[in-house]
């Protein structure tokens, strides 16, 4: 039976922001639809309305020409609309089975039978009796999907499903989604990743500032056309001028970096040796979980390892803590913006002050010099085009892109000689990514060096002068980036060799 979902003139207004402005869209089963837009374009609001989490100020939703009243998530469930949220809606301390059984109407025995049928049909395999907190992000997502499938949904909405997945998991997800689609489930796929739209979806609706700006067949679209629709202006193409000159000084040199851990969730690092020249960007590629976390923490001084030698500007710094390393003009931008780089509950200027460096006069005789910090913060906000000038704002209210700009600004305003960043554009939209890439290139132009640890191969190829791949805690040969192709990188990242 065909499903037809129609959204008609939906509006939702929050104080100071029109999240959805007269949105009308139509979806039919048998196709995968993309809802594309930057962060804050109103995609999430729309799907929250469709799943009954929030109710619209105006407008109606029709399923097979039946007007739906979606006042609570229960209503969406009853009408067979399933939803997989970006931030998983799972109970971490409960077991997988308990998570699935919580709203089931049948008894546990027949539920187990049905879950196993789904496992078989789609090639899933997850231990039902372990607590959810032990699962990987990909497995958690599968639990969410199974929870929807158990209710035999007509519509399945996926909200930015790949933001936490590895490439392998993403591929698996796409295979499953195509299967669901063939079985007649209408799939709405929300994302800001253009490539995913092109490789997975049949039709794409682009949203900008709460409005639908275009609906089209994906076969008629290209990355550039979609990007321009999404951002609303022509994006400059960024490509770094690669500069490898042999006779530049090595500013940073790592020797015999070994790391061993008993924790099964950590990766051991085996004898890493590399160096970075002045004005150079060294890219470190790899699928997440191959030791990047540990490497970043060792380079930043959060973990001190014995017998490792790290020479920075002709000084041995391997035993120094992050604060001391900062004083030697290193700067760091960790992967997790919310929990590692900034304290979300603190105000912007307080977050800026956290990273106090020796030369600043933020603190005098143990007291906080609020005026100085605020002035300094204002300068960061304007220099790095963060879209607020209110330094009293709590950092948690900044979008990912703006928070990343703030963090980079905080690190760069000290004019460091070396910036080490880990997935700096993770989860950001095209506009913010572009800005951050431009910033990173500018650093190199000013003869400062960067180490870019990233899981995004495109980003690495765009920004790095030389690239190495980390796989299971081992580093590959370091290659000049003009010799590197995406295929080569993919092979190395999967554990293959190219020689």
């Amino acid at each position: 039976m065909a499903t037809d979902l129609r959204i008609s003139n939906i509006s939702k207004i929050y104080p100071g922001c029109i999240a959805n402005d007269n949105v009308s869209l139509q979806f039919k089963s048998g196709k995968i639809y993309a809802l594309l837009g930057e962060n804050g374009a109103g995609k999430s609001t729309l799907v929250k309305i469709l799943s009954g989490v929030i109710s619209p100020d105006n407008g109606e939703v029709f399923l097979n020409e039946k007007n739906l009243k979606l006042n609570s998530p229960l209503d969406a469930k009853k009408n067979k609309i399933g939803m997989v949220f970006q931030h998983f809606n799972l109970f971490e301390t409960l077991s997988v089975f308990e998570n699935l059984s919580i709203d089931a109407t049948e008894d546990n025995k027949s539920l187990r039978v049905r879950i196993n049928e789904i496992f078989k049909k789609y090639n899933f395999s997850i231990d039902l009796d372990v607590p959810v907190l032990n699962l990987s992000a990909g497995q958690k997502q599968k639990v969410e999907i199974i929870r929807c499938l158990l209710r035999s949904p007509k519509v399945l909405i996926m909200d930015e499903p790949t933001s936490v997945l590895t490439e392998q998991e993403t591929e698996e997800l796409f295979i499953s989604l195509k299967k669901f689609c063939d079985e007649g489930i209408l799939i709405i796929y929300i994302t800001h990743k253009l490539k995913e739209v092109l490789s997975l979806c049949d039709e794409v609706a682009v949203m900008r500032k709460g409005k639908v700006v275009s609906v089209s067949q994906t076969q008629n679209e290209k990355v550039e056309t979609l990007a321009n629709k999404m951002v609303g202006q022509k994006l400059a193409k960024i490509k770094k001028k690669i500069n490898i000159s042999k006779n530049k000084d090595e500013i940073f040199k790592v020797k015999h970096l070994n790391f061993y851990s008993d924790d099964p969730f950590e990766t051991n690092l085996v004898n890493l040796n590399f160096s970075v020249k002045k004005g150079e960007c060294l890219g470190i590629a790899g699928i997440s979980g191959n030791g990047q976390n540990e490497l970043f923490q060792i380079l930043s001084g959060e973990i001190i390892t014995p017998d490792t030698s790290i020479i920075f500007r002709n000084k041995e710094i391997a035993k120094l803590n992050p604060k001391q390393r900062r004083e030697y003009l290193m700067a760091f931008s960790p992967e997790d913006r919310i929990s590692q780089a900034a304290v979300p509950e603190l105000k912007i200027y307080e977050n800026v002050a956290l990273n106090n460096f020796k030369s600043s006069n933020f603190f005098e005789k143990g007291l906080v010099n609020e005026r100085k910090i605020k002035e300094h913060s204002k300068k960061i906000l304007s220099d790095f085009s963060v879209n607020t000038d209110n330094v009293e704002l709590k950092s948690q209210f900044l979008s990912g892109g703006n928070l990343q700009k703030l963090i980079l600004g905080r690190e760069l305003i000290t004019a460091p000689e070396l910036l080490i960043c880990y997935n700096p554009t993770w989860g950001l939209d095209v506009g913010a990514i572009n800005y951050i890439h431009e910033t990173l290139i500018k650093i190199n132009d000013q003869e400062k060096s960067t180490i870019l640890i990233s899981t995004d191969t495109e980003e690495l190829l765009k920004l790095s002068d030389r690239i190495a791949v980390i796989y299971k805690g081992k580093l590959s040969k370091i290659m000049p980036s003009e010799e590197v192709t995406p295929e080569k990188l993919g092979l190395l990242m999967g554990g293959g060799s190219i020689d």
């Binding site: 989490v53 998530p73 939803m83 949220f85 799972l90 109970f91 409960l94 059984s101």
Partner: protein, 310 residues
């Protein structure tokens, strides 16, 4: 002092009796906390239960009405807490503290006319068996119905949380109210129910003190037991069975150290008085040191205010 076997039996029986209010209050609070609500008003709810139970007994001369009434008054006072924290979204900690202060004051006021009135004897079960079997008699028999209920309660609570659908819903709400709400569970209703249940159990715990354990009304007669119950829940890492163990250790050492004081051990009295607190914490910390289990039992959203998106 003769340390014969029947004396030990009687000693154990009295230890059990002294731990009943802790078990009741802690089991009730455990359910409340498992749903993510931190109610620090245990002491206040207990003392209200104690005075209302005693007052109803004096007025109606009916112990059944007194017991049920004490639970009902616990429900009413916890309803205030529920309304403030769940409907008006006030801070759990501040509201709970206020509830305790309010409860102690109100009970003192209500209890003015009941000071010095003798209590009524509470019926005990199987009193003939108590005398006829040595050692086990005083342990197993001759107690009030409330004691038997109290000792069954941790097991029932455990079964409820682990095996029943409703228990699963309570745990889910305590883990992540947002997810639960998105799954169509009415978080506020679940939390209200858990708060009211906690109130009823604290009321009963108070009534046990004023009607059964020391049958009379004394101002501030709960004497901090509510706080001990609260601490037990945390140190038992939200496991009902460990709450029972903790309550017994606390009751046991309280009684033992009293005997030791009476005998005149050459240990400072202050140290002996502190012993129950110290030992209970040490034992519970030792038996609950499995960090993985702690993580699984701890209600992640404990004390956090939940409001529904509109």
């Amino acid at each position: 002092m003769s340390l014969d076997i029947s004396f030990i039996g009687i000693l154990i029986g009295s230890i059990m009796a002294s731990s009943v209010p802790l078990i009741l209050a802690a089991s009730g609070e455990l359910i409340t906390e498992r749903s993510g609500v931190l109610n620090l008003g245990v002491e206040g709810m207990m003392i209200i239960g104690a005075i209302s139970g005693f007052a109803l007994m004096v007025i109606t001369d009916n112990l059944f009405i007194a017991i049920v009434g004490s639970m009902f008054s616990g429900v009413i006072i916890s309803l205030i807490f529920g309304f403030l924290t769940q409907s008006l979204l006030t801070n759990h900690v501040a509201t709970g503290l206020a509830l305790t202060i309010f409860g102690i004051g109100l009970s003192a006021m209500l209890g003015k006319n009941f000071v010095g009135i003798p209590g009524k004897e509470f019926p005990i079960l199987f009193s003939s068996l108590r005398e006829s079997i040595p050692f086990f008699g005083p342990i197993l028999f001759g107690h009030s119905i409330v004691l038997y209920f109290a000792f069954a309660l941790p097991f029932l609570t455990n079964y409820f949380l682990k095996k029943t659908k409703l228990g699963l819903v309570v745990r889910a709400v305590g883990d992540s109210p947002v997810s639960a709400s998105n799954q169509g569970i009415n978080v506020i209703t679940v939390r209200y129910c858990c708060i009211l249940y906690g109130g009823a159990m604290c009321g009963l715990a108070g009534a046990y003190l004023s009607l059964i354990y020391t049958p009379q009304w004394i101002e501030n007669m709960t004497a901090g037991r509510g706080w001990i119950a609260l601490a037990l829940v945390v140190f038992a890492t939200w496991s009902p069975i460990k709450v029972l163990i903790g309550a017994l250790i606390f009751g046991g050492i309280t009684i033992l150290q009293l005997h030791m004081q009476a005998i005149g051990f050459r240990i400072p009295v202050q140290f002996l008085s502190a012993l129950p607190y110290l030992m209970t914490i040490i034992v519970l910390v030792v038996i609950s040191r499995d960090s993985r289990k702690i993580k699984l039992n701890t209600p992640t959203s404990l004390g956090r205010i939940f409001y529904k998106e509109k």
